[in-house]
Structure formats: structure tokens, C-alpha cells
């Protein structure tokens, strides 16, 4: 079985359990053998290769951290993070698919849903029979989701939703959309955010695909349009109240990203090492030149640091002491270094770096999105700033 060279200069594996290593390697083998042969065409032609969905489900990659009684694998955060790393070593679009299904859709149903909602949806989502999407961001409200315009109005037997969402991964292909909307809260005497399960085919609900992307091309991105959409009472998430509910999902997904982007960086680094040893210029491999060695040394060091940061974030999660700001630091740092590594890798590959013969430019373009979605780089900077000073820069 082919196996990608792992970046393990700092004996990272000694910090993992046998099961964590086995899980990472199994997913890594699958990515190498089953996904990599598909990705370049999917990226060129801008589609998600749906044929991999049953295989991802079979391996247990949807909602992997959730309990076995809902048909999930029940693994710990580090094992989950390592699966994200391996998926994103394939493509950020693949990791996004699994992130959205697990952390953004199955997690809120598990965390904020009723037992009935859990047993109805989670096993089918784990099997990949029901695909989910997560609707929080709007055309005019990205970093400030609390300003959203989508509204829910209480009516007899349920709610009526109106509004629009944008940049929604898997929106067009989703059977179930988790939509966050403002609802007048009788108890609080003001509007508050609530979560709703909107099923595909509901009257007034549509999800047109956003085309012409130069990034995450092997991933479906959509708008969600809600015009007088009736959602029955049973499809409201009973515990999903206030902005902290969707933000709680995002903390889960961002944790996965902190691990995931390390995979994309590894792919760029490994390709750069191989290329610089084979590409001969001025009579010797370009890897023999100081400028290239300096780049490789920087890339390698940043990957090792990023791995350790993500791992410690996971170990803190296991102990229940990981706060959203810890995840912010790991997401912010790791996305930044991964993008920087991809750019440096493009440089090392010269003109070849822009072609689909190498994974470099695909990862680089993807990482531009990953740096921005799930909390932009700047917002995470401000989260850290607030944590240091006690003063929130983004609140009045």
C-alpha cells in the first residue's frame, strides 16, 4: 500500500496513541489511493467528486467524534484532527465537506437538538445518506453574524423564515440546511438567534450554486434563499439559542481547520523537497542552492510548530480546558503559515508550480479561502487581542 512520506522530524508520532496513528495512516492511505487520482479533474471542472461520499462514510469520517449510539465512531479530538489533516493533504474542499457535515451540521444537532432530532438525523448523516449545510453567513454579514437580517416569525405550528445566506459549503447538494435566524424572544423581550432545520424541497427554499470561484473549486459553495419558508416546531433546535450556539459549532470546525491546513502545507512541502532535489539548474539540483534551502528550512520549521500547536489544542480539548481563543490562535497561525508555505512552494516549483501537474497552486488558492472562512485571520487576531488586553476591538 502506497504511503505518503510523513513529516515527522520532531518525533511527533511519539506524542500520539497507537490508535491515533492507525487512524491517521488509514485515512492517509485512502487519500493517496482513492482521492488524489480524482482531485485535479474535479478542481479543473469545478465539482465535488460525490463518488467518494460512501467511502468517507464507510470509514466513519462524518461526525467522527460523536457517540457510537448515533452510528458515529466516537473518537477523540486528536484523532479527529488527524483525519482532517489527511483529508486536507488531499484538498481543502474534501476537508471542508467533512468539516461541514460533522462539525457544522451533526455537531449542532447533537449539541442543541432534541433526542428525537438526533436519532432521526445523525445515523443517516453518518452514513452520508443525508448531506447537511450550515447557514450563518449572509451577503452583508460575515465577520459580524449578530447583524444578520434573516428573520424567523412564530406562527401556528412553527415558524416562517425569510432572508438569504451566502458562502454556504454544500448548500446546493444538501438535504438538510441548518439555518440561523433572528427570532423575537418572549422571555428576553428582544430578538435572539435561533437554529432551524430546513429540509430540501421545502416551499420557498432554494440553494443556487455560486459559480466562478478561483478557490475551493472541488467544493460546492452556494447561496441559500428563504422566502416565506415554513419550518415546523419540531425542526427548531431547542437548545440552539443565542449567537453562542452557532459560534460553538464554528469552534469545532476551526479546530479541525487548525489540523487540516497542516496537511495542505505538508503536501506543498513534500512536493517542494522532491522538486528541488530533481530539478537541475546551473548544473546542480536547485535544492543545493542556499536560497532554496533557506525556504525549505523555514517551511519545515513552520510545519513542525503548527503540528505541535494543533496537537496541544486537541489535548486541551480532551481535558475540557480548550477555550475558543485557544482555537483562534491555532486556526489563525496555521492558516497563515500554510498559505505562506504554499506561496513559497509555488516559487520553488517555478513555472511548473502554476500547473495542475503539481498540487501547489490548487492548495495555495484553496488556502486563500481557508484563511478567510470560519473567522477571518483578522478577526482571530482581534479575539487574541481581546484575550490579552481585556478590551474588545470589534465591539462598540
Amino acid at each position: 500500500m502506497a504511503r505518503a512520506t510523513r513529516t515527522d522530524f520532531y518525533d511527533f508520532d511519539s506524542l500520539l496513541t497507537e490508535e491515533e496513528i492507525a487512524i491517521r495512516d488509514a485515512v492517509g492511505d485512502w487519500v493517496d489511493e482513492r482521492f488524489l487520482p480524482l482531485v485535479e479533474k474535479a478542481y479543473d471542472d469545478a465539482y465535488f467528486p460525490t463518488e467518494v461520499i460512501p467511502e468517507l462514510a464507510e470509514m466513519g469520517l462524518f461526525g467522527a467524534t460523536l457517540p457510537e449510539k448515533y452510528g458515529c465512531a466516537g473518537v477523540g479530538p486528536v484523532a479527529y484532527g488527524l483525519t482532517m489533516q489527511e483529508l486536507e493533504r488531499g484538498d481543502s474542499g474534501l476537508r471542508s465537506f467533512a468539516s461541514v457535515q460533522g462539525a457544522l451540521c451533526m455537531y449542532p444537532i447533537f449539541e442543541y437538538g432534541s433526542e428525537e432530532q438526533r436519532t432521526k438525523w445523525l445515523p443517516r448523516m453518518a452514513k452520508g445518506e443525508v448531506i447537511g449545510c450550515f447557514g450563518l453567513t449572509e451577503p452583508d454579514f460575515g465577520s459580524d453574524p449578530g447583524g444578520m437580517i434573516t428573520r424567523a416569525k412564530k406562527v401556528d405550528g412553527g415558524y416562517v423564515l425569510n432572508g438569504a445566506k451566502m458562502w454556504i459549503t454544500n448548500g446546493t447538494v444538501a438535504d438538510l440546511a441548518i439555518v440561523w435566524a433572528k427570532l423575537f424572544d418572549e422571555a428576553k423581550g428582544r430578538e435572539s438567534i435561533a437554529g432551524f432545520l430546513v429540509e430540501k424541497g421545502t416551499k420557498g427554499y432554494s440553494a443556487p450554486e455560486q459559480k466562478r470561484k478561483h478557490s475551493l473549486r472541488a467544493s460546492v459553495t452556494s447561496e441559500l434563499v428563504l422566502q416565506d419558508v415554513f419550518v415546523p416546531e419540531g425542526n427548531r433546535l431547542p437548545e440552539g439559542n443565542g449567537l453562542k450556539a452557532p459560534l460553538g459549532c464554528l469552534t469545532q470546525a476551526r479546530f479541525g481547520i487548525a489540523f487540516g491546513v497542516v496537511g495542505a502545507a505538508m503536501a506543498c512541502f513534500e512536493s517542494s523537497v522532491a522538486y528541488s532535489k530533481n530539478r537541475v539548474m546551473f548544473g546542480k539540483p536547485i535544492g543545493g542552492f542556499q536560497l532554496v534551502q533557506a525556504e525549505l528550512a523555514k517551511m519545515h520549521t513552520e510545519i513542525i510548530k503548527a503540528q505541535l500547536l494543533a496537537l496541544q489544542c486537541g489535548r486541551m480539548k480532551e481535558r475540557g480546558v480548550c477555550k475558543p481563543e485557544h482555537v483562534s490562535m491555532a486556526k489563525r497561525n496555521n492558516c497563515e503559515i500554510a498559505l505562506e508555505i504554499a506561496r513559497r512552494a509555488r516559487d520553488i516549483h517555478g513555472a511548473n508550480g502554476i500547473t495542475s501537474e503539481y498540487p501547489i497552486m490548487r492548495h495555495m488558492n484553496n488556502l486563500e479561502s481557508v484563511k478567510t472562512y470560519e473567522g477571518t485571520h483578522n478577526i482571530h487576531t482581534l479575539v487574541l487581542g481581546e484575550n490579552i488586553t481585556g478590551i474588545a476591538a470589534y465591539r462598540g
Partner: protein, 250 residues
């Protein structure tokens, strides 16, 4: 129905092997060890039979040092029920000694099917399967390309020159597997977690005196550098002459 799968741990086919200082064994430093790729078809074959029957037990057996437990654990993660580790540190035991050790362990299990890869990707001897069947007194079908069980008869196909050979064999039987017999599954996350709780029974064994002695191990000679015979059309006669007289390929 109880089935046994015999597994060998081998260096990853992408490993660049080096010969150890003794000139007779591989230098284990930097080697990634994996399940012999042909054995993956054997594990998958047994699991499919068990799943189709809806019951039964799949026991995996491997002979080797402490390191083989990783590979046994991997087959447990794929879905095998339990493992037996025949502990022995001999670097390259001969095929008959291995077959005898396996036969002793397998006999008491009284399996209906014994599965192996058609050969191991390291020494490529392809001997253990047939030897094992002889020692167990069971029929053996080697290099199986397809497998179907009908009652107590296995219908097996083998790729032969210009066609396919169809064989029917009554159980119990020994089957050695070719590439393409099936699509071996990837261990699932659940399978990996479940494997943690499955048992690997260790048995120290003595292989006895070797029947075959491995005298020396050598890497193939490094490829010599190419030669440029000239440029353009003028170089063609010399190129043709070199290919015919020096390389003797045309």
C-alpha cells in the same frame, strides 16, 4: 465457520532497502513495515465470506518479531476477530519452517478456509501456501482471481495464459490470493477503535533447524550513466550501431 488468514509483515514497497552489515539480512533502520499487499486480499476475502454468512470467526496469524503486532492490529481493525502471534525473531526463516509453525497453530483451530497471499512481496518465494496445505492435508488453490462460496464448495477462478481456469474445491481448503481478487477495505475509525479491545495471543515458538540457508543478499547494481552519441540526424547511425552491438536490444 472459522477461517484463518496468514499474514506476513514486509517492508513497504516504497522503502529503499539496504543490506545489513552481515550481508544476509535487510537493514531495518528507516524501514516502514506493512502487511504484505497480497495478504490484504486474503483478509478481505475472509471478511467477505464471514459477512455473507452473517456469522463466523476470522483468526489472523503472523510469525515474526514484536513488530508484527502492528500489522496484526491493522487486520483486526479491518474486521478480523482475533489474532495469534507466533513470536520468533529469526530474520529470514525458510518457507518450510514457517509452514510447519503455521500448520501446528492452524490444525487445532480446524478451519474451513485458510487464506494467504499468493506470495510475499519481499522474498517472492510463493511457497508457504502450498506447503501449508500439504502439511494440513487440505486441497490448495493458488493465485485465486475470483472466489465464490456455494454451500461447502468454493468456486475459484485463476488467471492463466489466454484465459481463466475455473476450479471447484470442497471445504476445508487453502486459498492463495492474487491481486484483483477483491478491493481490500480501509480500516474504519470504528474498526480501529474496536481493534484495541480484541486479543492478540502471543506464543513463543521454536523454528528448529533451517532447511534452507540464505547465503547472501545483494542489491541490483546501480544503473550506469547514459551516453550521448551525438546530435541530430548525424547521430542516428552511431545510435543504431550502439543499440544493436553494445546494448544488443535491436
Amino acid at each position: 465457520m472459522l477461517q484463518v488468514v496468514c499474514i506476513k509483515q514486509v517492508p513497504d514497497t516504497e522503502t529503499r532497502v539496504k543490506v545489513a552489515g552481515d550481508g544476509r539480512t535487510l537493514d531495518p533502520t528507516g524501514v516502514t513495515w506493512v502487511m504484505n499487499p497480497f495478504d490484504e486480499f486474503a483478509v478481505e476475502g475472509a471478511l467477505q465470506v464471514k459477512e455473507k454468512a452473517g456469522a463466523g470467526e476470522v483468526v489472523v496469524i503472523s510469525l515474526g518479531g514484536a513488530g508484527v503486532q502492528t500489522t496484526l492490529r491493522n487486520s483486526l481493525a479491518m474486521g478480523a476477530d482475533r489474532a495469534i502471534h507466533l513470536k520468533n525473531d529469526t530474520a529470514a526463516p525458510d518457507s518450510l519452517a514457517v509452514a510447519k509453525a503455521l500448520a501446528a497453530a492452524i490444525r487445532e483451530l480446524n478451519p474451513q478456509l485458510v487464506w494467504l497471499g499468493k506470495s510475499a512481496s519481499d522474498d517472492d518465494a510463493a511457497q508457504v501456501g502450498p506447503m501449508l496445505s500439504e502439511l494440513l492435508g487440505l486441497p490448495c488453490v493458488t493465485v485465486a482471481a475470483s472466489f465464490a462460496l456455494e454451500g461447502t464448495v468454493a468456486k475459484v477462478e485463476r488467471e492463466i495464459e489466454g484465459g481463466r481456469e475455473q476450479i471447484e474445491v470442497p471445504l476445508p481448503a487453502v486459498i492463495t490470493c492474487d491481486k484483483g481478487l477483491n478491493q481490500p477495505r480501509y480500516p474504519s475509525l470504528k474498526g480501529i477503535m474496536a481493534a484495541k479491545k480484541k486479543t492478540i495471543e502471543e506464543r513463543a515458538i521454536d523454528l528448529g533447524a533451517a532447511h534452507v540457508e540464505l547465503v547472501a543478499l545483494e542489491l541490483p547494481p546501480a544503473r550506469a550513466a547514459g551516453r550521448i552519441v551525438g546530435e541530430g540526424a548525424a547521430a542516428v547511425p552511431e545510435l543504431v550501431r550502439a543499440l544493436r552491438e553494445d546494448a544488443k536490444v535491436i
